[in-house]
Amino acid sequence: MEYLDKHQADRPWLAIARNCPPEVQRIFVALDQRGGHAHIRHERWVTEEMNERRVRNLHDPAQLDPAKRAAGIDGLTPGDVQHRCGNIATRITDPEAFAMAFARGVEHPDVRAALDSNGPRPQPVILPISAVLGDDGHKSCSGWQLEPVNGSMDEARAFRRAWAVGDQSGPGPRARPVETFEGGTVTFAFRRSAVGGYEVSTMHVNPADEQPT
């Protein structure tokens, strides 16, 4: 597709779509032409190492300037704004599965209602992974999670933030791979679209122990 060829150099997250079927390519192009970041931070082009560094040191995969990435500067927010990350950094490891999750997700009634709403920014919708990727869909997911500090994820996130913006001598934050996404969820968050209405701001998978109780 022309768009994929044109942005081969400046938008490296599109490279993964070049060998995909046309319907998958169309989804990647549509996502990239809007304002969401699901395909930039939560798809296969983000390597395991990139996700580990994101969750451990707030290095944003979307930041293409290596110095800014190492400094924890967000790659998608104008200005030198610090990048943010939750307890986990995850991805769907297969671009066709990613596109299917997105296509099925936006057809879900709760997601559709959010996209079609006219009021303030809609609240996120959290669906079972199986609802968009089938019973084995969790096998197409991977991720890294921050390790607790003193048994606390609150402390771990605060320590990581202090580490990222301050003195980095001594032991830093630690992370470990997510063992399984079986029973997990996928979150759809929303933002106002430049062309009116709402669009998916991001779509990311969560392991079962990260979902609300």
Binding site: R84, V125, D154, A158, S201, P212
Partner: protein, 100 residues
Amino acid sequence: MNQAYWARNPRGPFATLIALSATYCHPEVYNDAYPELLERVRSAAPEDEQIRVFREELREALADPSRLPDDELAKAVQYDDGSSEAFLRRLWHDLYGDES
């Protein structure tokens, strides 16, 4: 089907506070959404019932953070502030300043 706390418990304790905090303060959307929350609160019309309830629940949670349901706020927002109370204090300060 929607497994979010506020969808499963629309009348549950602090459902509006947790829902709006997740909508605007979760790290996956924070840099884009948090300024929108500031603007929404500052320009809220009197008939914005969601913001009225949000403010009331924020005030109640600050008065007694132990009333928050389990880890629902921490799971929904994943703040960097170190504790739910610290996050709520910052949120109140950013949104309402010295108002009581």
